[in-house]
Amino acid sequence: MGDGEPLVRWAWIGRNWPSIQQLLVDHVIMALLPVLLGLLIALPLGLASARWRVLYQPTVGLMNVVYSLPSLAVFIVLIPVTGLAERATVIIPLTFYSLAVLIPAVVDGLEAVPDHVRQSAVAMGFGPMRRLLQVDLPIAVPVVLAGLRVATVSSISLVSVGALIGRGGLGYLFIDGWQRQFYTPIVVGIVLVVALAVLADGLLVLAQRLLTPWARARRAA
């Protein structure tokens, strides 16, 4: 890149702040919506896989195949369906990536419920639905949240790739900086993506502590 070009030109940031903000909002939406959708879909699928074990391997196998597809390739395949530079073109593949992480997390979480706990719940007269809601799912929460952290951080990072098809949130700044041999947008993009990931992860850790004090204390013990 250009000689004598400083790493960061503060003036550029000041001038472009409104559009940077817009990219940031776009990035957050495209990163978090897939995780949310993924969680909503993973819960029933995970419950079904934990209940009917035969479903588990095929489901996880399929999700791993999906996970192995290069994101850029999937974006390009979807363009004719959902359109170039559309949010949906990015959100749909990222939802599948989230599922690949979250379905096993839900199943593992449910399997983390000790057998004696499940049996005593049955023996005390919990019906199946009440047991699921009041015993199995709450005990699965720490494992599901751990999966949610991985899914969230990787989703935040993957959105940038969408810049190659014209919709990548902060990823646009990397392309812009590279095309113009100009460091500042690249640095701003990296800093914001990392900050976003750290912030989201921190919030999830906080949620974990508030929701599952019993699990936090176990870790400390």
């Binding site: 005390m124 007269g125 005990i139 599952t212």
Partner: protein, 363 residues
């Protein structure tokens, strides 16, 4: 009363876990199902609250066929304690104990008040109420498990090897605690264990099961020790049946001499009439002064005339160099001495009472 009528549990692969079991579990008493692994004791227990349904036969709970009761309703009326306590890790102790009251729709305040009452009842500090299960020791968790089972005051309690995962000292204290609770509550308890000593200690009635789910013998512990039905039961009971059976013979029948002297020895008491030891007296005393304590007293054993068994009396005699046991009253005050001859007489009576295949034959 719980009645098993020809109950069989057969699995799809042909395995028979319980084979034509017929027995009665009396109301207000502890009935222990004991046997080696694979004898169907846990399966039998779980058929009572329909965690497992019988293939054949029926189980009556106070003359009502349990299959006519919807399982969750049935289970809320039967307390259940499991080996590792089975506490909910995500709920505080107080809410764990209040589980069944919550299920029954009690309001939260009433359920929690009941839970606090039960924590005290099982000998736990109510300060533990706000903690989570992992913050408690194994023994404390097991007490919480018992409190939880009692929360809705069910008439029946099922206990599935509840004390086998804790160390022997804690196990003994949990067993004593259960007996104390039972003396206050008079629940109908079915208790499953593989430990024959536990069965004999806790059971009013002991049902010995053998592999394949056959009932080998059902009897009170004293009868079981004195008259095992067959070689399997005898082998399962283990050694020292004769001596162990003495635990069920009260010491009250033994002849006590209300004096401190026996030939060659006398009992030394403190100012409060409590025994301090034996002192050699007369010509038959030992010349070995090493054996004596610094004040010239030798070891002794006592037994409580009102509460202890003949086994304790015999043990007390074996501890003393004089060969005599010291009897004390409920407050630990000297009541008299029991000589070997008096013990012999009582032992003879005890083995006579045990019937023709009596305790003396193998002991």
């Amino acid at each position: 009363m719980i009645t098993f009528e020809g109950v069989t549990k057969r699995y799809g692969d042909g395995t028979v876990a319980v084979d034509n079991l017929s027995l009665q579990v009396p109301t207000g008493a502890i009935t222990v199902f004991v046997g080696p692994s694979g004898c169907g004791k846990t399966t039998s227990l779980r058929m009572i609250n329909r965690m497992i349904d019988a293939t054949e036969g029926r189980i009556l709970l106070d003359d009502k066929d349990i299959r006519q009761i919807d399982p969750p309703t049935l289970r809320r009326g039967i307390g259940y304690v499991i080996q590792q306590a089975g506490l909910f890790p995500h709920r505080k102790i107080v809410d764990n104990v209040a589980t069944v009251p919550y299920l029954l729709g009690w309001d939260k305040k009433k359920a929690r008040a009941r839970a606090m009452e039960l924590l005290e009842r099982v000998g736990l500090d109510t300060k533990l109420a706000g903690r989570y299960p992992f913050q408690l020791s194994g023994g404390q968790q097991q007490r919480v498990g018992v409190a939880r089972a009692l929360a809705a005051d069910p008439p029946v309690l099922l206990m599935d090897e509840p004390f086998s995962a804790v160390d022997p000292v804690v196990r003994t204290s949990l067993q004593d605690e259960l007996l104390r609770l039972q003396s206050e509550l008079h629940k109908t308890i079915v208790f499953v264990t593989h430990d024959i000593d536990e069965a004999i200690k806790l059971g009013d009635t002991v049902a010995v099961l053998r592999v394949g789910g056959h009932l080998a013998q059902i009897a009170d512990p004293s009868t079981l020790l004195a008259e095992p039905a067959d070689d399997f039961v005898e082998g399962f009971l283990g050694k020292d049946r004769g001596i162990r059976r003495l635990s069920f013979v009260p010491a009250g029948g033994v002849a006590v001499r209300a004096e401190r002297d026996v030939p060659g020895w006398s009992v030394v008491l403190d100012g409060d009439d409590r025994p301090l030891g034996w002192r050699a007296g007369g010509s038959t005393g030992p010349t070995d002064t090493q054996a004596a304590g610094k004040d010239g007293l030798l070891p002794f054993g006592t037994f409580d005339l009102e509460k202890d068994s003949l086994r304790a009396a015999l043990d007390a005699a074996l501890l003393a160099p004089s060969g005599c046991a010291i009897a004390v009253d409920g407050d630990g005050r000297f009541a008299g001495v029991v000589t070997r001859e008096a013990l012999d007489e009582a032992l003879l009576r005890a083995s006579g009472a045990a019937g023709p295949t009596g305790a003396g034959s193998h002991g």
